[in-house]
Amino acid sequence: MTALPALPDAFSDWFASRGWQARPHQLALLAEARAGRSTLLVAPTGAGKTLAGFLPSLVELTERAPLRVAKGERSLHTLYVSPLKALAVDIARNLDTPIREMGLPVSVETRTGDTSAAKRTRQIQRPPDILLTTPEQLALLVSHRDAASFFAGLRRIVLDELHALVTSKRGDLLALDLARLRVLAPGVSAVGLSATVRAPRDLQLYLGGAETPAGLVTVEGGASPRIGILDTDTRLPIAGHTTAHAMRDIYRAIASHKLTLVFVNTRMQAEFAFQALWSINDENLPIALHHGSLDATQRRKVEAAMAEGRLKAVVCTATLDLGIDWGDVDLVVNLGAPKGASRLMQRIGRSNHRMDEPSQALLVPSNRFELLECRAALEAVQEAAQDTAPARIGGLDVLAQHVLGIACSDGFDADSLYREVCTAAPYAELSRADFDAVLHFVATGGYALASYERFAKLRQDKAGHWRASHARVIQQYRMNVGTIVESSMLKVRLSRQRAARPGQPKLVTRGGRVLGEVEEYFAETLTPGDTFIFAGEVLRFEGISENEALCSRAPPGTDPKIPSYAGGKFPLSTFLAARVRRLLANPAEWAALPEEVASWLHAQRLKSRLPKSGELLVETFPRAGRFYLVAYPFEGRLAHQTLGMLLTRRLERARMKPLGFVCNDYGIAVWTLADMSAAIARGALSLGDLFDQDMLGDDLEAWLAESALMKRTFRACAIIAGLIERRFPGQEKSGRQVTMSTDLVYDVLRRHEPEHVLLKAARADAATGLLDIQRLGQMLTRISGHIVHQPLERVSPLGISVMLEIGREAVYGEAADDILAEAEAVLIEEAMA
């Protein structure tokens, strides 16, 4: 490393006035920036990352100020991008202190969805020195017709919470925009601020470009965190995800700390925990709720109260995962399974922002399997093992959006744009054929058998440059920018009830308060009269009216019918799964487990068996006139759900008459009318064949044709790629009707042009997204030849935990015509009666 540079006097004086001195990594970043090099800074929370990121900009702007004034230079110097609008606003506030106290000649502004049109225009004409924004706003700036001159003087890019940005399609979009900025501003260098990750090299490539990886500055973690698994006197449930058994203990922990963050994996768990804590809140501790579905103003109130120190605890979801400094958190409680070691560490990092003091955290498993998972996560944290996701392969749908965006700016030459795109790390391996397919998709739809040439969105000018053909195309692009496709949401409205004439049901009218939003597919599982918890209240579902779920307050004392959100939206990481399997296979390690969990495992070994860590245990047994197959792949709920869909198809073909299946993160249970134990014994059913990797061939294709999950995946790709607009102009279409029409488009495209680039994009998503096919494939390879079958007389101790999902979860495997025939029979029965 080069010798650490000296700070200008104003800066060292300022550090001294606060009793600080610049930290080595802050100076290292300054040196790297002066040399014009991009750098990744990996540091734990509390290490002064933000200041380290901005220090080079502040110093350079101060040193160059006289020169800039003399030359009348008025250009953007530093661009800061964060995943959250709120974070950008927070950083603006934090930057204000040093700038004001040192009297630096530096202007800082934010640009988000909330920025007024007048201010945006002014920012283009007279940019601030430092602009703080989000990936979507950056995409809009890059596609601006004046992008070239706007970014020409750009010197620095600061990417905050980079580890969180790169794992999604937003990261793909940002990578493409970075590649663009490297071309528009050849002198630019970037700094990425990141929490500890498994493979920093991935982020270095992302930051500097595929051929010029950024340098790395690492700050070793401070004091290691103090983490414990909750030791409670109450029994740990066999299944379920509520952690109801532990609420008293959690409440006591809250009472004895200053500010506690209670992290949960799903919105519904948040609602339940909040309700449960308040029901025992004898001391009236100020405990608040924070999740993404709540109304924004309500969330802002909670955030403000936290920052002002008025709260004792906040029950929250991933919405508070990222690094906003909301207050002096001294305890993090993680309810339920941690799902991943790195995720857990980032959450724990939310407590205690002084890196030399240990963070305090408490893990609260909600069932016995989750206890094993907590145990595995604890060991991983102690070894500082990381399991962040592997680097993404860039989505073709995102590329399509970017290509359209660039065509909206000053146009592009296809060869140069292809070379530029390949410097973005997620697209380093992009083939020219895929690039051309995307380009033609954007220009004319890219269909093989018919062309929309006459309606082309992009046309080539005489010099061969591709440009947007029409101002309307630019407008469409600007309306649809971004990669976040919300599932269709329904507003939850607390409707007023109007008494009707006596003897008639009450009428529900609209016009009450909006409490927040729920996903449409959740509302679809509700029948009028169902009760559920939302925004801390028990609501009675009354019906759906246009895009609103109308609800009323349930009478006091009503038990909510808690919707089952199984293990939550994050599947168990492969890394933790492997550790759990190892723990199961090794009785010597059980000594560290609570007595009841150890004896549960001993009972399993006695009554059935425990698989070795490379094996897949499959149990079959009869129960109440049905025959069950329970398997324990430990591959997460999404992969299990896909496995279940495919297994039931194969069991159908093997004439086992499957009726349905359920799964959780650890295992899967399928039930049939035919006796599977007997069929296996007489050789009529082979488990090796049943779990053969060839299920990912024709069976998968056949299922994908009708899979609602695949259609949802396709819809997201279609929206991101710009095939379907988020809103059809001039048409009153609710999200629900759009969903229907993308399903129709999917059916037609799949039949007539299965190799179309959009289907290719959707299949790539299906491999890692909602269907997790890639992980299923890895599992099938892993267990091939290692299946152990255990026929049983009754359900095993492990099996109960999976079987208890029955009744909580929708049952799969019912064919549409079976459902319709049953509905039809209702009528016939009545007619015959």
């Binding site: 739809g445 309606f455 029409s741 488009v745 319709l820 039809e824």
Partner: protein, 235 residues
């Protein structure tokens, strides 16, 4: 007039509308066995290219898909006459946009049988080169055939226009399928177009058209199912 559910096997369920025997077909077409007539509604041909002209490049295969579904139904029933119940084209210029292959397919379908275009709100007239006759309405055995359902029909009526779909939920699974909406006075047909969306039978647009005696004949994967309206859910 009664709605007699005279069943002649699962695949061929005959319902009576006035004196006219109807068989709701799995394709979404209506088969009139005594008249050897096939009725189809809301083909919305060239909807894809209509969107494309506004910069939404839906796959341009919808007309081919729709016509191949229609061809399959024609081959199955070998009708003497085909009646398209309006909105056969998504927009008027669509008639001119229809690609040559599709025009040929259409001509092939018209070969050796009568073909009647009933005009709809999307296609107030039909280009002569598309073949067939056209009319605002027709009558068969005392039953009126028209595009939009009339508010208070004087005689039994077959109409389209509303694209009915029915939704139900059983065993934790929701199904939303195109359907025929039938009562002793009316038959509202599902849309046959590949990109034609659907309107839920519980939508208020249907309320004034059906009193008692509504039944939904939902299109399953292998046959048509007659479903009690009390099982139907709104969207």
């Amino acid at each position: 007039m009664t709605l007699a559910a005279a069943e002649t096997g699962a695949a061929q369920r005959v319902v009576m509308l006035g004196r006219l025997a109807l068989v709701p077909d799995l394709s979404g077409a209506l088969w009139l066995p005594e008249e050897r007539t096939l009725v189809v509604a809301d083909l919305h041909l060239e909807k894809g290219s209509a969107y494309a002209s506004r910069g939404v490049f839906l796959p341009p295969y919808d007309s081919a898909a729709t016509l191949s579904a229609l061809t399959a139904a024609v081959l199955r029933h070998r009708p003497r006459r085909v009646i398209a119940l309006g909105d056969s084209f998504h927009d008027e210029p669509g008639q001119a946009r229809l690609a040559e292959g599709c025009r040929n397919a259409l001509r092939g379908l018209q070969q050796g049988r009568d073909w009647l275009w009933i005009t709809g709100n999307h296609d107030r007239s039909i280009l002569p080169r598309l073949g067939g006759d056209s009319a605002a309405a027709a009558e068969i055995a005392g039953v009126q055939l028209r595009h939009e359902p009339s508010a208070s029909p004087e005689a039994p009526e077959i109409a389209g226009h509303l694209h009915p779909v029915a939704k139900l939920r059983l065993r934790g699974r929701a199904l939303r399928r195109r359907c025929f909406a039938l009562s002793p006075l009316r038959c509202i047909m599902p849309a046959m177009g590949a990109y034609a969306g659907g309107l839920n039978l519980r939508d208020r647009a249907f309320a004034p058209l059906f009193g008692q005696g509504l039944s939904a004949h939902m299109l399953g994967d292998g046959r048509v199912f007659r479903i009690d309206p009390r099982l139907l859910l709104p969207d």
